[in-house]
Subunit: 170 residues, 2 copies
């Protein structure tokens, strides 16, 4: 089964973090649950799959069509990961043609609620972020142009000095 990723060893109990939690304990490079979960839901497709399954259970081909752009490989992998984490359940109907349904588990539903909070935050602040980016980019390009002007000016002065020097010694 090749096990392309590596999460089999060391459950990595991060210790309890009541109240004044120790940041380094839940996100350092040691494999902590937080990072794994975050990486899972934040990868290219998981979030979308979870969101789609929130409405109702879907079969493989339905997910494939709705997402449009995902390869069958990545859809399979994404669903396997979510299934392994207990966020999505997979039911196979032994029939011809084969049919496989996916749906959110209760745990997956609670995660989706939490995710929604993040999505909501983004929706509420996306204009602030866009504004900040525009301001930042403008500032950077302005400084850049100013630096170029200064450089050109120094070049001009240097050339003048050189010319004056040649006039004196020549």
């Amino acid at each position: 089964m090749t096990m392309e990723d590596g999460t089999s060893k060391s459950p990595g109990y991060c210790g309890d973090t009541d109240g004044d939690y120790d940041v380094l304990q839940w996100d350092t490079r040691e494999d902590c649950e937080v990072r794994q979960i975050l990486d899972r839901i934040a990868d290219k497709w998981s979030l979308l799959v979870i969101a789609l399954l929130d409405q109702r259970s879907l079969r493989f081909s339905e997910l494939r069509r709705r997402i449009e752009g995902i390869s069958q490989r990545m859809l399979t992998r994404t669903l396997r990961q979510l299934e392994r984490d207990g966020l999505v359940s997979r039911t196979v109907y032994p029939a011809v043609p084969p049919r496989v349904d996916y749906e959110l588990t209760p745990l997956g539903v609670t995660l989706h609620h939490t995710i929604r909070a993040l999505v909501t935050w983004t929706e509420e602040h996306q204009n602030e972020i866009a504004f900040a980016r525009a301001a930042y980019d403008a500032r950077v390009t302005a400084e850049q142009e100013a630096a170029e002007r200064d450089s050109a000016e120094r070049d001009a002065i240097a050339r003048e000095v050189l010319a004056a020097g040649r006039a004196n010694t020549g």
Copy 2:
């Protein structure tokens, strides 16, 4: 300035998503804010930086020491990204030696609160996830071993049949 990533064009208004939101509008491949923010906070270091800055403002070298494992390149890049998005502010003290302080903006603080919800969810459900993984892995290896046993059995039968055939024709 090379601009290694590309978020300069098309702000990508995802449309309002009141109530029954359209999932495909906030996470499809078109560059929507949600994905960008999620990718930002979920990348290898941003979340940790945000968490550390939540306590108090820190200078570059302090962050570098506390994180331990991050390269100066990635720390710089991470901070620049966060600064560009208006989540972190950067203040330079013109002195010798140079000193640069980073701190969360009000916007960054609100994001940190939202993130905390996700972290809390993970902390509350990490044992369920660990259990689900263990169960899944156990099931997979069990099926695998069963398949191997079946294969060996079929091999044995096939050999017997072959031997019988030779006995008849020989």
